[in-house]
């Protein structure tokens, strides 16, 4: 019964969407904002990659909000999975460590070789984010993967969470502090700063976009540490076995 109702609802919604689709302006969407930004960005922000200009300069506070969302999610995941019903020493679940085997020699060595390479690629993508496609988000994901690969091939490795906590806290505050730095000069929050130190090189060179690369570095480190933290936290959860469902607080279940 519920399925039929659901199907009807989905069908109705699909019909509505299709009707709406017939109204959409195919191929001639007005791009007021886009065109204005395309015209202004090279002169105002000096980035060759205009998406980076939008992300860090024009809509910088969106990016800050997004970093906060990742932080919130990571904190929430940590707190939820930190519950004792999900720890390997709790009675209800088997140890995870025993159930997984270390990977073979070749995999382990290959990962050890690849990891520094990935780190370099990640940082390259972050630092050249304002010049070429890529940037803090993409580079951050690669950094997180580079950090996590050794854990993946050596299950049971204890990770020091402190490093991740420190990195995520400092990278996030770094982003905000760069924004507050502008306020210190009586400028609006997150106004890009151009001075001789940060460089005002020709468009398309590495030292051309003022404080934006700093912001992108903060974004990259933040995204990398949050995602690495997420992966590590989930990987530390032991396998839930079928027979030992935790009865910890289920005593009076019907």
């Amino acid at each position: 019964m519920r399925n039929i109702a659901g199907l009807l609802f989905a069908g109705g919604l699909a019909f509505l969407l299709l009707v709406l689709a017939s109204y959409l302006p195919y191929g001639q969407t007005p791009m007021f904002l886009g065109d204005a930004i395309l015209a202004h960005a090279p002169g105002e922000v000096h980035t060759a990659n205009i998406v980076a200009a939008v992300l860090l300069a024009y809509r910088g506070i969106d990016t800050l909000g997004e970093l906060s969302i990742l932080f919130t999610a990571a904190a929430g995941v940590g707190l939820i999975l930190g519950h004792r019903s999900l720890r390997s020493d709790s009675a209800g679940v088997n140890g995870a460590v025993n159930s997984e085997q270390h990977s073979g020699f070749i995999t382990t060595r290959a990962v050890d070789l690849i990891m520094p390479l990935l780190m370099v690629v990640g940082f390259y993508i972050i630092f050249y984010g304002h010049v070429t496609p890529g940037g803090g988000f993409q580079g951050g994901v690669i950094l997180a993967t580079a950090f996590f690969l050794p854990v993946l091939v050596r299950p049971g490795t204890r990770i020091e969470h402190g490093v991740i906590t420190l990195l995520e806290g400092l990278a996030g505050s770094g982003f905000i502090l760069v924004g507050l730095w502008a306020m210190f000069y009586d400028q609006p929050f997150l106004q890009p700063i151009f001075d001789s130190f940060l460089g005002t090189g020709p468009l398309g060179s590495l030292w051309s976009a003022g404080s934006l690369p700093l912001l992108y570095l903060a974004v990259g480190l933040k995204v990398g540490s949050e995602l690495a933290g997420l992966l590590v936290t989930v990987s530390e959860v032991p396998e839930l076995s079928e027979t030992n469902i935790s009865d910890a607080d289920d005593i009076n279940r019907k």
Partner: protein, 513 residues
């Protein structure tokens, strides 16, 4: 004035830094969060005292130094300033003091503060989405870490509903962007009569309403309400029912005024409001558990707010703001009283004899909630009825019937509780029963222990709310003047546009358009 942006930035900074600082000193980290809240309050009071002379001047604050519509701006007028003040104050009032928890919970509270302030201040459609999503994720996390697994399950259902809602909202934003090519609210408002006054505009309003309606406890997307409020601590429930739902409502109303001029949008919202009132009050009437009753009554009250805001013109605006503010005061106070009265209403038998003062407080609060003259709730409902009667149209006529009916139902179940409270408990005290249940259930662990006693803090909050209600009655004239000016400012589209784009800019925009 530019300091307003710090209301969002400082809590975020504190949230990021707290786990780091806590590694060396837990006490410093905790103080950090609280001091940021006090600083926020200070900033707003400072702005308020400065703008006292010019009175009610709205300001647009540019972020990143890029003028709107290219950049993002914060829009500060009376109502957003008021809610921006309410955010840190209420977070402070309902701070999880008594629970020895991880520092990350305090971090989450700071993120909640930042996102709530950002949501009410932001003047950009996508920025509103980002803050709304942040608010959502922070509240899912806060609900899920309340200890019991039932809180996690409730939170998961809330998460699914909330995420589908925010994806719908994103879809609405995408549709608006394909039509207008811009995201700034003032600019959209300039283009709206021409570009959004059609089917697609209405569809995007419906989508955004679905999305924001999840937090605002709007009718079809509110099934999370009783589950979540039933499984979290009273503090969090008070914060969510009192503050967060109102923020979502105000943002919806702002979008409605600025972006969607078509009358169908108003009617849609009014209809959903009426359905919310009906379902909320009817289920509340049938529920046998105090917190659940409060949750459903909250749904009903929010339905009233939506109904009020769907009345075109200032009268509706005034009524909506009045009911919203009134509910924002009363509901948290009721939730605080509920701390001591968790469980079935039958267990409340004889409470009046044991704690007569608390019951008296409760009666004052519910009388105002019901709208018995001369308490402020009456004036709020009076405004609503006057507004409804001034309109003609099916929805409004229906509203004229539904609102008194809802009041009668509300009266029935609230007075039932009062009757139970004054009943002589000659049979063995039923309270014991619930204690047994709690003990067996707490085996889990949970930082949350169901306190079967009122906390002093909660009583103090409830008492001050009651005092405030009576103070409002004594100061009715100034209060209604203030309300009128709030309503005027909120409903004035042109004022919004001219504030964000000062004159010369407006001319240029129109020529582009």
């Amino acid at each position: 004035m530019d300091n307003i942006v710090l209301l969002v930035v400082l809590p975020l900074l504190a949230a990021f830094l707290m786990p780091v600082v806590a590694r060396s000193s837990e006490v410093v980290a905790r103080t950090l969060g609280l001091s940021v809240l006090f600083i926020s309050i200070g900033i707003i009071l400072n702005v308020w005292s400065q703008s006292g002379q010019i009175d009610s001047q709205a300001v647009s604050i540019v972020i990143g130094g890029f003028l709107p519509p290219l950049g993002i701006n914060f829009y500060v007028d009376q109502i957003s300033l008021f809610f921006a003040l309410a955010v840190p104050v209420m977070v402070l009032l309902f701070w999880p003091w008594h629970r020895a928890t991880s520092i990350r919970e305090y971090s989450l509270m700071m993120l909640l503060t930042a996102s709530a302030s950002g949501l009410i201040l932001s003047g950009d459609l996508f920025n509103i989405y980002v803050f709304y999503e942040l608010l959502g994720i922070a509240s899912y996390s806060l609900v899920a870490i309340q200890g019991r697994v039932s809180a996690v399950a409730a939170s998961f259902r809330y998460l699914l509903m909330g995420s589908v809602g925010s994806v719908m909202m994103l879809l609405g934003i995408a549709i608006i962007y394909t039509q207008t090519g811009t995201l700034n609210l003032a600019h959209l408002s300039l283009l709206a009569p021409e570009k959004l006054n059609n089917m697609l505009g209405l569809a995007s309003f419906a989508l955004i309403l679905t999305g924001m309606g999840v937090k605002a406890e709007l009718f079809p997307v509110n099934s999370w309400v009783p589950e979540v409020y039933g499984s979290v601590s009273s503090n969090l429930a008070a914060l969510m029912a009192g503050l967060l739902s109102k923020l979502a409502v105000i943002v919806i109303v702002r979008l409605l005024i600025l972006l969607f001029p078509q009358p169908e949008a108003l009617q849609l919202m009014g209809m959903l409001g009426i359905l919310g009132v009906l379902t909320g009050e009817l289920v509340a009437w049938r529920s046998r558990d105090f917190v659940r009753m409060l949750s459903f009554s909250s749904i009903g009250q929010l339905g009233l707010i939506f109904l009020a805001f769907s009345i075109p013109g200032e009268m509706g605006m005034m009524a909506g703001i009045a009911i919203a503010l009134h509910h924002m005061l009363v509901k948290p106070a009721l939730f605080m009283l509920a701390t001591g009265w968790r469980g079935a209403v039958e267990n409340l038998s004889g409470v009046a004899r044991r704690s007569p003062f608390v019951v008296l407080l409760f009666i004052v609060l519910i009388l105002s909630l019901l709208g018995i003259p001369p308490l402020p709730g009456f004036w709020a409902k009076y405004l609503l009825m006057v507004g409804l009667s001034s309109q003609d149209g099916f929805i409004y006529t229906l509203g004229m019937i539904i609102v008194p009916l809802a009041m009668v139902i509300e009266m029935a179940y609230l007075f039932k509780i009062v009757m139970i409270m004054y009943r002589k408990d000659n049979d063995e005290p039923a309270v014991n029963n619930s204690n047994i249940v709690d003990d067996s259930n707490i085996v889990d662990d949970s930082n949350i222990k169901v306190v079967q006693k009122h906390s002093k803090w909660g009583l103090a909050i409830a008492a001050s709310v009651a005092a405030m209600l009576i103070a409002i009655v004594l100061q009715l004239q100034p209060a209604s003047d203030k309300l009128l000016s709030l309503a005027n400012q909120l409903s004035d589209r042109n004022y919004y546009i001219s504030t964000v784009f000062p004159q010369i800019h407006t001319v240029r925009m129109q020529s582009i358009k």
